[in-house]
Each structure stands twice: as C-alpha cells, then as structure tokens.
C-alpha cells in the first residue's frame, strides 16, 4: 500500500513537473491557478467524505490570500515558503476555532453556516478601507529562499512549487483518508448514529476534517494571491466558494487525483468558454454541472477502478 502510494506520488510529480517544460506560459499560469484551487477543493472533499459540504471555503481561501498579502506588504516578507507557512498557520488557528463549533451541524445547516462565515469576512473586507475595500490589495512577486526569479523562471518556479504542494498535500490526505479517523468519516456518511454507538466521536472527526480543509484553503489562497499578484474580497464571496464545491462535486469523494483533474477541467472550460462565448460561460458551466450530477453522481473518481484494499 505505502509503496504504491509513494510510487503514485512520485509519478504524479513527474507528470506535473513535465508540465513545467512543456506548457506555454498561459497554460502554466492556468494550471498553477487550477492546482491552487484544487487544494481548496481537496479540503471540501475531505468533508464530503463525511457527508458535509462546506459552501464557505472562500473564507480560508481569502484569509490565506490576505494573510500572505499583508505579511508581504507590511513586514516585507517575500519568501514563498514563509508566506505559505504563515497563511496556513493563521487558517489553522481560525479553523480550530470554528471547527468544533461547526462540526455539530449537518447537511444544509453546515453548508449555510460556513457560507455565512465566509460572507462575514467578505462584508468586513469590502468595508475596510485600510485593506483596500472592494479594490483589494496588490502583492509583489515571491522569492524562493532568497532567489528572486522573473518572467518565465518565476512562472515555472511558482508552478513547480504548487506541484510539490499538491503532491505532498494529496499524499498526506490519502494517508489521512485511509487512517482510522478517515475511515470513521466515511462511515459517518453512511450512518452517523451507528458510528456514535460504536464509540467513535463524529464531532471530533468532523472537526479534524474541517481544520484540514481550512489549512488547505489557506495554502490555496496564498498561491492564488501570489500567482495573480492581487487579492480582493471576491475571494470570500459565495460564488467563489461555489466554484470550489463545483470542483469537489465534479471530482467526487473517491479519489484524490480526481480533484486536481477536475480543477484543471473547470479552469479550462472557463478559459475557453470565456474566450469563445464570453457571455454564456456560466450557462456552459451550469449545464456541465447538471450533466455531472446526473451522469456521474460520485464524480470523476468513480471512473477509476478501485484497487483492492482501498476504502470504497
């Protein structure tokens, strides 16, 4: 199992790294953004395995992005590793505060409460002129341990950095999904009360899932901020969170790589329909989502044949 996992992780990284050589600039940027958003959606997938869908991951996406921007702008830190670490830390703290609180809610109430929290952040940021209000803030290009690349080198470095994060986060989440806690999450999806009767605490497990989702959201937000060079309150708006849910639904809860494939598909569909039918890309997206829900209720992940011994 573990060797297989390590092999797939290395394989995934080689595949992604190949992109750094092969992809043209625009596609590399698109993939970097897609992978960053995929990280956020991976957090939702972690919760979805337990039957919960957060409609407010924009909260952590935005929190991470603003943390990185403020630290970079106010303290002059430009090191990407430090920025990621700090954003993840802030999201960890906030997630740990809200996690146990939200873990008691189910279904639509969980979705709406998480949405409300992200909208609180949106409302605050939009009104705070110190933080740029609705215009947002700019963030400079990152450095990598003192190395200060420009142009294509910067793009490539950023892309490779996301690729590493994706592979590491994906591997860690897979290990977590297959751990005792992860399997309890899956059991909760089927029948929560039964899990409680067997002596496991659903609330604890859900809190963990939530906190992991928060950290992943923060990391994704940091990368997105650095790739775009700009953050604004829209990061926390509910339609942004809706896109993360979209990716999670498209991917399904069965497979980790499917999340990133789904994220890239969404970003492609969006870019191309933006280019060719600028006024109807939401229409295309909506129809696409309906088709996925009807044809692939368990997402892209269900297309991959499950290996023996994996959790179903």
């Amino acid at each position: 199992m573990r060797t297989n996992l390590m092999l797939s992780a290395v394989g995934a990284f080689v595949l992604l790294a190949a992109g750094a050589v092969l992809l043209p600039d625009w596609a590399m940027f698109l993939c970097a953004m897609a992978l960053a958003k995929g990280l956020v959606s991976l957090g939702i997938v972690g919760m979805m395995r337990g039957g919960l869908v957060s409609f407010g991951q924009g909260l952590y996406y935005c929190l991470g992005a603003y943390t990185a921007t403020l630290v970079a702008g106010q303290l002059g830190v430009s090191d990407i590793f430090l920025l990621t670490l700090l954003s993840a830390g802030v999201c960890l703290v906030v997630g740990a505060l809200f996690g146990p609180l939200l873990a008691g809610y189910r279904g639509i109430f969980f979705a709406m409460l998480s949405l409300a929290l992200s909208m609180v952040l949106y409302g605050t940021l939009a009104k705070l002129t110190v933080l740029g209000g609705t215009d947002g803030l700019n963030i400079g290009a990152p450095t990598f341990f003192g190395w200060d690349p420009e142009g294509r080198a910067l793009q490539t470095a950023l892309y490779l950095y996301v690729a590493v994060l994706v592979v590491v986060a994906g591997t860690l989440m897979r290990i977590y999904f297959d751990s005792e806690q992860g399997l309890i999450t899956l059991a909760t999806r089927d029948n929560e009360l039964r899990v409680e009767y067997l002596g496991a605490s659903v609330r604890t497990v859900m809190s963990y899932n939530y906190v992991f989702g928060a950290v992943l959201g923060g990391i994704g937000g940091t990368i997105a901020a650095l790739a775009l060079g700009h953050v604004d309150p829209e990061f926390a708006f509910w339609t942004t969170s809706g896109e993360f849910v979209f990716v999670a639904i498209l991917a399904g809860y069965l497979s980790v790589p499917a999340v990133f494939v789904a994220a890239i598909i969404l970003e492609m569909v969006r870019s191309f329909s933006n280019l060719y039918f600028p006024n109807t890309w939401q229409l295309a997206l909506g129809i696409f989502l309906l088709i996925v829900i009807v044809v692939l209720p368990n997402g892209l992940g269900s297309l991959v044949r499950r290996r023996k011994g994996d959790a179903t």
């Binding site: 009104k127 849910v245 909506g286 989502l289």
Partner: protein
C-alpha cells in the same frame, strides 16, 4: 425624529422587502424540500420582466393612467411564474425529489448559473430604469425626514403577501392539503392527494413570490446583471434564521435582519454588509435549526 424611530422605519421598510423575497424560498423548501438557489434568478428575472412590462406600458400610452404600471408589474411576476415555474419544476427538479438536500442545492446552483446568462442573452447587459412607479405615490413626511411613499407600499405589500400565504395555507381546503403534503407526502399520496400537482403549485407560488419581489424592487434600482447574486444569500439568511419551511419564521427573520441592518447603517456603517450573516450565525449557535424549525426525529 430620534435615532430609534429612524432605525425602526428603515428597518421595517427593509424587512418588508426581505419578507417578500424570502417567503417564497421558505415555502418551496417546506413543500419540495429543496433550498432553491435559483430563487435569486427568479427574483432577477422578475425585476427584468417588470422593467420591460412597465416600459412597454408607458410606451403604449400608459401616461393617461400611470397607476396601471403597478398592474403591469404584477402581471410580469405572474408571467415569470407561469413560464419558468413549470419549466423548472416539471423539466428538472422533479427528477431530484428525495435526493440529498445538499445535492439539490447544487442542482439549483446549476440552474442559477444557467439563468444568469439566459438573462444576459434576453435583456443584454445594459441597465434598465423604470422610476415612474417609484415616484407615483409621492413622499411621506415623518418629522424632519421625508420617506418615499413607495417604500411604505412595499411594507403593505409584504403584509398582504404574508396574510395571503398564511390564510391560503391555514384557512382553505387546498392549503390544508399542502400542509398534509409538507407533513408526510407519501401518506398524503395514499390518501388520494395529487402530490405532483401540489409540488408544481407550490413551486409556481414560490416562483411568483420571487418574481414579485424582483418586480417590486425594479423601480427602486437600476436593473443590471448580477442582481440575483446578493439577494439569494440574504434570503437564505432570513429563511435559515426563521427555520426552514416556516412562514412566521420568515417574517421574524426578515424583521430581525431588517432592523439589525438598519441599526448598523445608522450606528456602525462598516458592519452593514456582514451584520446579516452575523445575526444568522448567532441565531444558529443557539437554535441550530432556526427559530421556528420543526423538531425531527433522527433516523437510525
């Protein structure tokens, strides 16, 4: 006039509007068990339809009797319900009854995305202005302040809508059948109720209320794309505060949100945008299913 009274009046005006846009949402959830994100689109379409209808009314010589524009607005909302109600319910939503609630939210989210662009295709991206109905009722003087008469008409409309919904649910035969379906649709079906028709009727009523909300709002604002995006989330907050599916809950929720927003506008303007969600979060902390939610047994 002192601050408290100003807040109260502003709050009531906002609450009236909130109630109209959210009561349909809670009704649809109560009967169909679907939290309809596309409610926001229906609202926006109602606003566009009303703008077009009122525009057409005045273009065809409505100046002789300007009050007819109110009829035009209501007709617009009815048309939206009659066209889109059956289309969405029969054409799409009925295939998802009994599925997971959150999945259904996503289905309606997809509809929302689709309708956003359909609106752009039909009405274009330029704003529409129909100010005539707004100025028609004159101003109301309250102490040193002037309020637009139309705003009070919205409160009146909210009260009429609330009473109409409550009476038709509790005092008519059809309403009792609807309540029976809400309580237990399978049992109602075995008793001979045409549940399909009730679902369709409830959805159309919800669509009408959404479109009516939009139609009544159209004269107050410039009707532009993206109108439904903000409305739906505010309506969600109201409905969740009151308890999903509860009509009195929607009224209380609308009052709470309306007055707290008015208070925030006057006393702490920075908080205006998030006060709504803040109130919702506080209510959910103490009443996890909203104020008026039915208690439900957990299934093992």
């Amino acid at each position: 006039m002192d601050l408290a009274a100003t807040i109260l009046v502003d709050g009531l005006i906002y609450a009236g509007w909130l109630f109209i846009v959210s009561v349909g949402l809670t009704l649809v959830f109560g009967v169909l068990n679907i939290l309809n994100i596309a409610h926001g689109s229906l609202y926006a379409i109602g606003a566009y339809a009303a703008a077009s209808m009122v525009g057409a009314y005045f273009a065809w010589g409505g100046d002789a009797f300007p009050y007819g524009s109110y009829v035009a607005m209501i007709v617009a909302a009815l048309l939206v319900a009659l066209v889109l109600g059956p289309l969405l319910e029969r054409g799409l939503l009925r295939f998802f009854y009994g599925r997971d609630e959150v999945l259904n939210v996503l289905v309606t989210y997809a509809v929302f995305l689709i309708l956003e662009d359909v609106m752009k295709l039909i009405w274009g991206v330029n704003p529409y202005f129909v100010y005539e109905p707004y100025t028609l009722l004159g101003d109301v003087e309250m102490g040193p302040l002037f309020y637009v008469g139309y705003d009070f008409a919205v409160i009146a409309a909210a009260i009429i809508v609330g009473l109409a919904v409550w009476l038709s649910l509790n005092r008519t035969r059809m309403g009792k059948v609807v309540l029976a379906v809400i309580h237990d649709s399978e049992m109602s079906q075995t008793m001979g109720v045409n549940v399909q028709r009730i679902y369709l009727g409830a959805f159309m009523a919800g669509a009408f209320l959404a479109a009516l909300g939009g139609a009544l709002t159209a004269p107050m604002i410039s009707v532009t794309p993206g109108l439904g995006v903000n409305v739906i989330i505010v309506a969600f907050a109201v409905v969740i505060i009151g308890g999903l599916g509860s009509i009195p809950g929607a009224a209380i929720g609308a009052l709470m949100v309306g007055i707290s927003r008015a208070a925030s506008v006057h006393m702490l303007p920075e908080a205006e945008l998030f006060i709504i969600y803040f109130v919702m979060a506080i209510v959910l902390l103490f009443r996890p299913e909203g104020l008026f939610a039915k208690t439900q047994a957990r299934k093992i």
